[in-house]
Symmetry: C2
Subunit: 117 residues, 2 copies
DNA sequence: CAGCATCCGTTGCGATACTG
DNA sequence: CAGTATCGCAACGGATGCTG
């Protein structure tokens, strides 16, 4: 039997939750064009708190989407990179980004119309 | 200048939030193969509460992704359908569903590995 | 530098009860 | 049938301070 996200207890729901997550999308997108250090991610993703960055990275690592590599040096350096699984996701989340940006104006117009009644 | 979800205050963030939302994805997917009544949606999307169904439908309506049509009859009947904008989203969210189901096993294996250390 | 721990207000969301 | 209203808890998520 196929996994079916329409069914309550199917794990695909959890997977959907993660890949749909706001920060996950932005992190995967950032790592799509190259490995990044912790601080680089923090700098590129405007408005993310340290807590959410760490938390989201841990979740992505746990799900096998990113790898975390610690280099024993002073100061410490930690690199994050996409796994094969993570790379298989890039086109999809890039598609979300493209849709969001290209249809932003339409959505905002629709909202204005809706709120005005 | 292009809308950029990497910037804190860009509206594309909000758009991304909506289309990535767990229930939005399932609702759009359900409406993708035909208009549905409120109760049909409730029946097909296992585990959604009345509150979340209504709330998510309102959000999608506000964003111009679905339409809500009330037929004046007894008992009342309300039909939900995708707009053109909503249909432009179907392939994308279907892609999310496919990814989630096809990679579910990999993700669960990765989780088990991660948790076992 | 790359985090972890803690506090704490805000929001999400389910359960339940009621209505046109 | 298709909602709305209210309650209450749990999770989200930011700010701050500390550490190897």
């Amino acid at each position: 039997m196929q996994p079916d996200p329409f069914h309550r207890d199917c794990g695909s729901r959890k997977v959907l939750d993660r890949i749909g997550d706001r920060w996950s999308v932005l992190i995967v997108l950032t790592l799509a064009d190259g490995d990044r250090r912790y601080g680089e991610l923090a700098g590129r993703i405007d408005g993310i708190s340290q807590k959410m960055l760490t938390q989201t990275l841990r979740g992505l690592e746990r799900d096998g989407i990113v790898t975390r590599t610690v280099r024993a040096s002073v100061p410490p350096r930690v690199d994050y990179a996409l796994t094969d699984l993570g790379r298989s996701l890039v086109d999809l989340v890039a598609g979300l980004e493209v849709w969001a940006t290209t249809h932003l104006a339409e959505v905002e117009a629709a909202r204005a119309r809706y709120d005005a009644r």
